[in-house]
């Protein structure tokens, strides 16, 4: 089975700080990581290959040359191969044009199934997975928390919705986006790290994937960032001073009752 996992290199937003003077994002010194949701997708791809006892897991990303390090990390945890979509033409794309770029690469790769994290932690859109699927005219399953069965042409998956789980039979090829519950990603092995170091990364530009530069990147994006600003900062509030836990409880319950929502 030919499995492709789409990943994104993101700034580790947990280390992102807000400059107290300018009230803006401080990116300097922020580490780049594999989007955490994509790490589950990589692990799931590797598990499918291990379960079937055959197949190949290729990781695919679009990004600057530095994104290569994310691909190598994926190889260290079990991916076989890696492709980087890298070109000035792809830069600045919104979810519409990014999903088209990835879809064009996938057309060339002819996978049996595509896995990705449910969303990236920087943009938080959750739109690229379904977007790829639609550009390819494939079916999709989002928020997958378990792959019950998978074989060529068919998968049975559980999808996490707000009030429960929907069990879906999906015709393959399809795009499956996964949530954290699906697995526990492994740590890189020494052998994996060695392989990652030596691995050849395939790099494709717009010509390699037969893509009209007018349709991708910033040019091909229907949406544009108008401006960015910092959210109003939330200061610490009032500390309840009380002699005992029951006094504190009485004060706080009084405040809750005053809100008139309970």
């Amino acid at each position: 089975m030919n499995i492709v996992v789409c990943i994104k290199q993101v700034p580790d937003t947990t280390n992102v700080r807000i400059d107290p003077v300018t009230n803006t994002l401080v990116r300097q010194g922020v580490e780049s990581i594999i989007n955490p949701f994509d790490a589950y997708a990589i692990e799931e791809g590797v598990r499918i290959r291990e379960r079937l006892g055959e197949g190949k897991v290729t990781v695919l990303t679009m990004g600057p040359p530095q994104a290569e390090s994310a691909l190598r990390e994926a190889i260290a945890v079990g991916a076989d191969d890696a492709t980087l979509l890298c070109s000035r033409a792809f830069a600045g794309g919104d979810t519409w044009s990014t999903s088209l770029t990835l879809a064009l690469a996938l057309k060339k790769m002819q996978p049996d199934v595509v896995l990705a994290g449910k969303q990236a932690i920087d943009g938080d859109t959750a739109q690229v997975g379904p977007g790829i699927s639609c550009h390819l005219n494939w079916p999709q399953a989002c928020y997958v928390s378990k792959i019950r069965e998978i074989a060529k042409g068919r998968a049975v998956v559980e999808c996490l919705m707000e009030t429960g789980k929907e069990v879906l039979e999906v015709q393959l090829p399809a795009v499956l986006t996964v949530v954290k519950e699906i697995n526990e990603p492994r740590l890189p092995s020494l052998k994996g790290k060695m392989r990652a170091k030596k691995a050849q990364i395939t790099t494709w530009d717009e010509k390699a994937i037969d893509c009209d530069p007018e349709w991708v990147g910033l040019k091909g994006s229907p949406t544009a960032v108008n401006r960015t600003f910092s959210p109003p900062r939330r200061g610490g509030g009032e500390m309840i001073q009380a002699e005992s836990a029951s006094d504190a409880a009485r004060i706080i319950v009084g405040k809750i009752k005053d809100l008139k929502i309970a």
Partner: protein, 398 residues
Amino acid sequence: MAENALIIDAGKCVGCQACVKVCPFGALSMADKKAVVGDACTFCGNCVPSCKFNAITMTKAEKKAAVNIDEWKGVWVFGEQIDGVIQGVVYELIGKGRELADKRGVPLTVVVPGHGMDEQCADLLQYPVDAVIQIDEPDLKHYASEPYARVIADLIAKRKPEIFLAGATAIGRSFLARVAVEVHTGLTADCTGLDITDEGLLLQTRPAFGGNIMASILCAKHRPQMSTVRHKVMQAAKKDGGRNGKVEKIGADGKLLASRTKRLEWLPEMTETVNLVDADIIVSGGRGLGKPEGFGMIEQLAKLLGGAVGSSRAAVDAGWKPYSHQVGQTGKTVQPKLYIACGISGAVQHLVGMSSSDRIIAINKDPEAPIFSVATWGIVGDVYEVVPAMIRELGGEA
């Protein structure tokens, strides 16, 4: 046609790096003590006012409209239903949609794909909407991404609304991206603010980078302007007798209904308390509880308050609570009226999932815990003393 360009005047640049610091995309860097622009630039313009030396100028490309924008009129709202129940977020979309439609002087329409929804659609007319389009097909009874996307995209292409809003729910977020691809327009995810300019441009505000930054997004040259909207942020519309509108009941072309996914089973989440994202009040427990049994009192407090139970990642990873309760970066983003954090230290990953709650109560024995930095009210103390005391105060037995 002017191209997008961000130009740094090397003569004026003093190398202070102020612009590098404010760029949310990491697109500016220093070379030879002067700022330079990299490929990651999205021409958001954030850096322009940051330069005290007026060294940065930006021009934006005049993009030709992809469609004749004047042909697109009206505001549409996606009437999401699950098991025949119109979802709460729909009434919030009606509230915001009404405001936008009035500013534009255009009608507000709710579109409801489903089956046997006559009563519910008639009821929607009691709200401030001008019309309801009911797409009635047995194949649309339950959500399925392909038919839902095709049917909605087909209707959009035929009727040309200028704005289309849906809830940022599991359903809304998974099929709207397909609609956007099919009709070739922009889609902005998980908006927390919507406004409109006099020219009819929808200003879509959304959090990014884990809520560390807000971005305002425009879709200038394509229609419709589409957004998914976060639940519990907009004011829900109330029944006001309606606008004497009508329900238009239509079917869908059979070829639009084909689906390559099949729903085999539905496994409802077994829970005694309400759904996390719908809740007005959330009581959450974390590592500070020390043991899974600690969630007993958390559940009891939630029940007394009519709220839902949340959990930090630490408590989920320890196996004390299922993942569906996890609040935070790799879990759910919630925005209740009141969030009560019990024994949660407040790692950034947790804070990004709950810090936009209206009010936050933090109970923790460590006075230095970061959770207190976002709390409206903080109590330094043992959760096993404070929470049972709160339960007793609310008339429960602890």
